[in-house]
């Protein structure tokens, strides 16, 4: 089993009193709690901090932890033979996690399910994972394979983290920020306690062309100046295939052209829309002929694009 120095994690001396431990924990919780902190590593750091605090705040667990002796963090060690009153089963410690050992410590001496004090139903833990989905997969629906490490009790009654692969069918209609619940796919419950749930927090992968807002999609639509002025019919990509879009005469930059029901499907019924936002694109390099035509246009036009500037500032 790998050793973790709970005192060092909380930054306290080994003889620190309960108040000092609580104070140190709170300070670190404010810094790293995933619901509060912006630190991308916050979640992992807080997990260690919470694990350390859960053991050190409890006098019985702390005494048992202290009996493990002092080791370097990460060092492989074995608890003393009579540690935790469980006796025997030493080989079982090799793959065990220190957190699992202490999580239910005190209920039958770290080993559970024996029923010495009558079984107490313990519900399984809920887990939340971020699931990244491409826009194409959100449009068509997809199956995600989630690799998770979930706590489980082995045949000998010891807690273990066991790798699981969970295949979750994501129906079409999921969008950014959508939460999905997978019933009973979290940690296993014990003694008739129900299994925990797995929560998926859906995020959409950035797409080269489309941006999602709920179930609506946005697309930048570059038009040549003459297409915007004269009107045109242009091909526009959508997630369901290419469509023809009619550009009205005199279309302005920034104008939103709506393609009804060409967005993401909604979970129960209907579809979002696709909005094409017009941009007027100017050729990077005009050849002599084009330049001459523009010159002719500039000389012959009465267009005053900045006419409203005049007299607008008092």
């Amino acid at each position: 089993m790998k050793y973790k120095d709970y005192y060092a994690i909380l930054g306290v001396e080994r003889n620190a009193d309960t108040d000092a431990i609580k104070k140190a924990y709170r300070k670190l919780a404010h810094k790293y709690h995933p619901d509060v902190s912006k630190d991308p590593q916050g979640e992992a750091k807080f997990k260690d901090v919470a694990e350390a605090y859960a053991t050190l705040k409890d006098a019985e667990k702390r005494a048992a932890y202290d009996q493990l002796g002092r080791h370097s963090p990460g060092e492989d060690f074995r608890p003393p033979p009579d540690w935790g009153r469980q006796g025997g089963g030493q080989q079982s410690f090799d793959e065990a996690d220190l957190a699992d050992l202490f999580a239910h410590f005190g209920r039958g001496g770290g080993r559970r399910g024996a029923g010495h004090h009558g079984p107490i139903p313990i519900p399984g833990e809920d887990f939340e994972v971020r699931a990244e989905v491409s826009l194409e997969n959100a449009y068509h629906g997809t199956v995600l394979e989630l690799a998770l490490s979930l706590p489980e009790m082995d045949a000998e009654g010891y807690m273990r983290h066991v790798p699981h692969t969970i295949k979750a069918r994501i129906p079409k209609g999921a969008t950014d920020g959508q939460r999905l619940r997978l019933r009973g796919k979290g940690g296993k419950g014990f003694n008739s306690g129900h299994d925990g749930d797995l929560y998926l927090n859906i995020t959409l992968k950035p797409h080269a062309l489309f941006r999602a807002s709920g179930h609506d999609l946005y697309l930048d639509l570059p038009l040549a100046p003459w297409e915007a002025l004269l009107g045109a019919t242009v091909e526009v990509p959508t997630l369901g295939g290419t469509v023809q879009l009619k550009i009205p005469t005199g279309t302005q930059a920034g104008q939103k052209l709506r393609l009804a029901k060409r967005g993401l499907p909604k979970p129960h019924e209907g579809e979002g829309d696709l909005f094409a936002i017009v941009q007027i694109a100017v050729p990077a390099a005009a050849n002599d002929k084009e330049r001459a035509l523009y010159q002719q246009l500039a000389e012959g036009s009465s267009f005053k694009p900045r006419g409203h500037f005049k007299g607008a500032v008092a």
């Binding site: 709690h33 919470a50 692969t165 619940r181 997978l182 019933r183 999602a212 807002s213 930048d220 936002i277």
Partner: protein
Amino acid sequence: MNTEHGEIIWLDARCEVSLAELVRLSGLTETELQQLVDYGALVPVSQREAQWTFSGECVVSIQAAQRLRKDFDLDPNALSVALRLLERIRALESQLRALRAELPAGRF
């Protein structure tokens, strides 16, 4: 390695949960949830107390509030404030996502 197949439940306005289910899903007690309703931080879809139901959308915020209560020892009053702020953050993040989508690419 175990492979399991999971059934998906949408947590949106169409998914309504009872008070008893919310107790199970959130890890908060019935009394704590009643206090959140009393303070106005949690609004049932159906108002009759005997049959309170809640929108599935609130489950995730309430779970986050429950984590904050546990990890920061929040009392019911502070829990209620935390839940209101979490809901505001969720609404603002959703607006921010919508506005970002409308901005031309490369401007944000």
